[in-house]
């Protein structure tokens, strides 16, 4: 019997096809379960902490885990998802890069039978992820904005530094802030620019804004890294005593700066609570639970000078 090259190629393709299906649907009951922790960036200590806490909780629950850094790049994130699925990870604890751009990755994982638990950042889909554990950024910024209005006595000029424009947290924080501040005609926003949640970029952006607007009274920043960058720019311009800086996150250097009176307030998020909840939910999923709340908000608490002693970086003392 003689095979023509065409039949041989067809046979190889069919075998390859079955191998692919086998890879995708591999379910071993003997192997220990593994969790992939895919985070938007490890270039920000807040996300490093989130990833570390998720890995620690996974270990405590008896699972292997590996951290993947998406470097704020959705295509790299897609590669990580494909790797995680083909390498047989059983759940993904996920901090998305982009609310819209990350949806397809989550859908692919879910379709492959791998549950995805979003941490801190939201994707714009209610049924793609198994559950989304999210900081209540909007409400946290409503609280900060009330304090902002009181501190400025309803009058003044201010700058807003936004985070990544593709991230829902950026807009939830900004909208929460404006839902309060925009009620006061005496508060005038002289500039609103993105600094991508980045400290150095925030410093450069504010330095440039200060040239055109040297008489601002306050800066509201969508995260603490930008708040520190803004403070550096103000200090370099000799305006740090006059201009009030507000952040969001609860990062270590900002908590210390609030104690020192350099930063007025921040919104304390609880990354450990989010990471632990995500890992615990994955554990419950492995044990058969399927009924998870689609969204689980985590309350944000405002930290200012008079209560800063109750808090440490990334959470409570």
């Amino acid at each position: 019997m003689r095979f023509s090259p065409k039949y041989f190629i067809a046979l190889i393709l069919v075998l390859f096809w079955f191998a692919l299906i086998r890879c995708k649907t591999r379910q071993s009951t003997d192997e220990p379960k593994k969790m992939a922790i895919v985070v938007s960036t490890l270039n920000n200590p807040w996300f490093v902490f989130l990833a570390e806490r998720a890995a620690a909780k996974a270990k405590e629950l008896g699972y292997e885990s590996k951290v993947f850094d998406s470097q704020n790049n959705t295509s790299l994130e897609t590669d990580h998802f494909e790797n995680a699925i083909s390498s047989g990870y059983d759940a993904i604890l996920f901090n998305p890069t982009d609310a819209d751009g990350s949806v397809v990755n989550v859908k692919n994982a879910t379709a492959a039978g791998v549950p995805v638990f979003c941490m801190d950042r939201e994707i714009n889909s209610t049924n793609a992820a198994t559950s989304q554990i999210l900081s209540d950024s909007y409400s946290g910024c409503v609280t900060i904005a009330k304090y902002f209005v009181e501190t400025l006595n309803k009058n003044g000029k201010y700058v807003e530094l936004l985070g990544l424009v593709g991230d829902n947290n950026t807009w939830n924080r900004s909208k929460g802030f404006h839902s309060v501040v925009d009620h006061y005609a005496g508060l005038k926003m002289v500039a609103q620019q993105s600094a991508d949640f980045d400290r150095n970029k925030a410093m450069e952006v504010l330095e440039s804004i200060l040239q055109a607007n040297p008489d601002i009274d306050a800066v509201f920043c969508g995260n603490d890294a930008m708040a520190m960058g803004a403070y550096q720019a103000l200090a370099a311009a000799g305006k740090s005593d006059k201009v009030k800086v507000f952040g969001f996150d609860g990062a270590e250097d900002v908590v210390k700066s609030i104690q020192d009176g350099k930063i007025k307030a921040t919104g304390m998020q609880f990354p450990e609570v989010m990471a632990q909840t995500a890992a615990t939910m994955a554990d419950q999923y492995f044990k058969g639970k399927r009924d998870f709340p689609k969204k689980m908000p985590v309350a944000v608490e405002m930290v200012k000078k008079d209560n800063v002693d109750n808090y440490a970086a990334y959470g409570k003392k």
Binding site: S139, V142, T143, V273, E301, N310
Partner: protein, 208 residues
């Protein structure tokens, strides 16, 4: 004949792969989640159909403060609501008292109660946040496609308070008036502070 079968099989395979690779959806359907949601309408219906009927279950503020001192966990588990994880929780409270001062941003009230008789702050200026939306426990975040829709409900509820509840009260109230109030408060379970309780009003009546 073999050739035809081969072509048909190849076509079926290609069609199958193509069908499973691409799908079409109307943009209207994709955007419908947020665009079609009317937060003002939702808030108005929530106010009349869920919140106001629920006010009969509000706890008297003096009784709540006594319970917080004697059994904090019971007070939080029996009377507070919150939608997620965390220490910030909301209570629906009621009470009566005498107006001590009418200030720019608030009205100070000395509560008349058989239990604790604190001085509380009725907020008349900074009516923001989720206290009123969440205090009744009658709202479910999973009903909402997008978090912004859910947040907009709070904004619209607060607008009802700013436009319909506060102005008729603020225009008449003066020091010494006796009033009845129903409202929502926010307390942090871990860092409990009952020294300056701020009440976001849901119902205010001058009863002189």
């Amino acid at each position: 004949m073999k050739k035809i079968i081969r072509y048909v099989a190849s076509l079926v395979l290609v069609a199958l792969v193509a069908y499973n690779s691409v799908y079409f959806k109307k943009l209207d359907e994709v955007k419908a989640g947020t665009a079609s949601f009317n937060a003002a309408k939702y808030a108005s219906e929530f106010w009349t159909k869920k919140l106001l009927p629920h006010t009969t279950r509000a706890i008297e503020i003096g009784q709540l403060l006594t319970l917080l001192q004697t059994d904090k966990n019971k007070a939080f588990s029996d009377y507070s609501h919150a939608l997620g994880i965390g220490n910030v929780r909301y209570f629906l409270v009621k009470g009566s008292g005498t107006v001590q001062a009418v200030e720019e941003n608030q009205v100070l009230v000395k509560v008349a109660s058989e239990r604790e008789k604190p001085e509380v702050i009725l907020v008349t200026e900074f009516v923001f946040g989720n206290a009123v939306r969440d205090a009744s426990g009658e709202i479910d975040i999973n009903e909402f496609t997008n978090s912004m829709d859910f947040n907009n409900v709070s904004a619209e509820i607060n607008k009802i308070i700013r436009e319909k509840i506060i102005p008729p009260f603020k225009s008449k109230v003066k020091r010494g008036d006796r009033i009845n109030f129903i409202g929502a408060i926010e307390l942090n379970k871990e860092h409990l502070n009952t020294r300056s309780i701020e009440i976001i009003p849901v119902d205010l009546k001058i009863t002189n």
